[in-house]
């Protein structure tokens, strides 16, 4: 995985992960998207989403780090930071 991936590319790949985890190809996201905007995003699927993200981007996200995220924009930033670092 390219460690210096552009933010837009991260966003695109994240969208693919979310569409797969939530079984919904119609999902759209932007930086302001929160769990309540995405059908099927509950506490159980959140666990599966994090696992899928870790696998897709070859990173590890701690539970506390995940809890602090306010929206998808912050999730993308975290993924980018982890990949760079």
């Amino acid at each position: 995985m390219d460690k210096s991936m552009e933010r837009e590319n991260v966003s695109t790949l994240l969208l693919e992960v979310m569409q797969s985890v939530f079984f919904d190809p119609g999902i759209t996201i932007d930086d302001e998207t929160v769990a309540e905007d995405v059908n099927g995003w509950d506490s159980l699927s959140h666990v599966r989403l994090l696992l899928a993200i870790e696998k897709k981007f070859s990173i590890t996200i701690g539970p506390l780090e995940a809890d602090r995220l306010k929206n998808v924009g912050e999730l993308i930033d975290l993924i980018q930071k982890k990949m760079a670092g």
Binding site: D24, W41, S43, L44, S45, R48, L51
Partner: protein, 556 residues
Amino acid sequence: MDTVLDHLRAHGTRSDTVFCHFVRNGMATVLRFGDVLDGGTAYAHHFRRCGLQPGDIVLIVLRHTPDLLQAFVGALIAGCVPSILAPLTEKQSPDVYWPGLRRMFDRVGARALVVAAADQGGVIAAAGSKELVIVDPDQVPADTRPFEWPDVRPDDVAFLQFSSGTTGLRKGVMLTHRAVLEQVEAYRAAIGLGVADRIASWLPLYHDMGLVACFVMPLVLGIPIVLLDPMEWARQPGILFRWIEETKATHVWLPNFAFNHLRLAVGSDERYDLGSVKAFINCSEPCKAATFDQFLQRFGSWGVGSDRLTTCYAMAEAVFAVTQSPLGAPPVRLMASAKALAFGRIEPGDEDDSLVLLSVGKPIDGMAVHILDDARQPLAAGRVGEIALSASFLFTGYHSAPEDTAAAFQDGLYLTGDLGFIQDGELFITGRRKDVIIVNGRNYYAHDIEALAATVEGVIPGRLVALGLMSQATMSEEVVVLAECADPDPAARRAVVRALKSTLLRGLNLSVRAELVAPRWLIKTTSGKIARGENLERYLTMNQNIRISHGQVYGT
């Protein structure tokens, strides 16, 4: 040995034997039978000091702590009638949660509420009555003085199990000591549960499967258990497997969604030996053949065989189990025509029109299952109708709700509201008559969801519906709330959708799919009610692309 108390008393002779590994934050507290009885005795003394008498209702609203077990046992020892209720979660609003529970407390005449000090703020504000005794576990002193156990009779109510739903309308299922012990004996025989077995569970004790199968039954029989924190399990499902491996657990109960969650969320770097498990028992939700196949594909090499994946049909009104598929063999599968099933007929399917139905097994000893038509007359084998039950171990009624109790029975048969058929003695569940949606093993009434959703601003009054659909993502039912909204502004519509979701999450601890539709989109009956079935059909027709199957047909 006529009451649960007789069995508890008998455990006094084996007080050093381990009963429970109570796991929190990855650490296990070992509870021996002596610990459970001593802790229970301390609670019993405290309940008496607080003025509680035999027959008084004690409601227990605790998070995952050993006090859950000890308060329940203590109430039994005191001759009181305990009931464990779901605690407030961080997502729920205390302003909705406590007043709802309070209405229920008042209706059933509860005398005591066991709740931790940290969680008491809301309940005291909501109480407004001096009659409810609030018991803080930290204020219950250790007290192992002998307690004079009351004279409890087999037909006395042992405990209550409350249905979920809007708290004010929840029904308390009354279960006698006799019914509990008869169920335990019949079910124990059906699953071959013996003293050498062990049970591992993450299930909450406010759920009948967690309470009866994974706590009361092993408590009566003296079988060791492992109890995990449900919240911890959801985040790290692999801990269930770790404790199965650690304790060589033999019996594990899981709702259908949990098989799916384990398959998808146990990490690829984890590996466990599950060879000790004689039965993973799929229960409390529609059992899916595909779920078993996928679970087997993922964990087959970990010691799980197809003969270890079994099914059960259960409900609180029967104490727990109604049917169970035999251990040591996969449940029977039936390829049926989906089109014929939609009309209540069972016909062989073909390549273009088939679904796999999974048997939930045969009735356990002492249980008779009847299939009734719309006029509530018996139907022949192979015909789909309402499932009705007769058994000596059914509940005796809903507490303080004689009308609900009367409506639940006809000619001595308990009407389950579920639809199914019997073939070669095996029961197959095909759907549901009542408007109940089962999400991750928990029952929700559609009208409760609709009532709460209707409080959201921006929804046209009286113009919304809650539907249950089987989700391929969760392998459980998913609630879809369709609401009419006249505002064309995208930002405003987004706010309404968020409000619908957060209102239901805070009020019912329920995540839903919320969608707005145009004014007059929803179909109403001639009497002006929202027509749930027709709106479901309309929604499915318009959303062929989303991978959700019809909620009323369980076989797909």
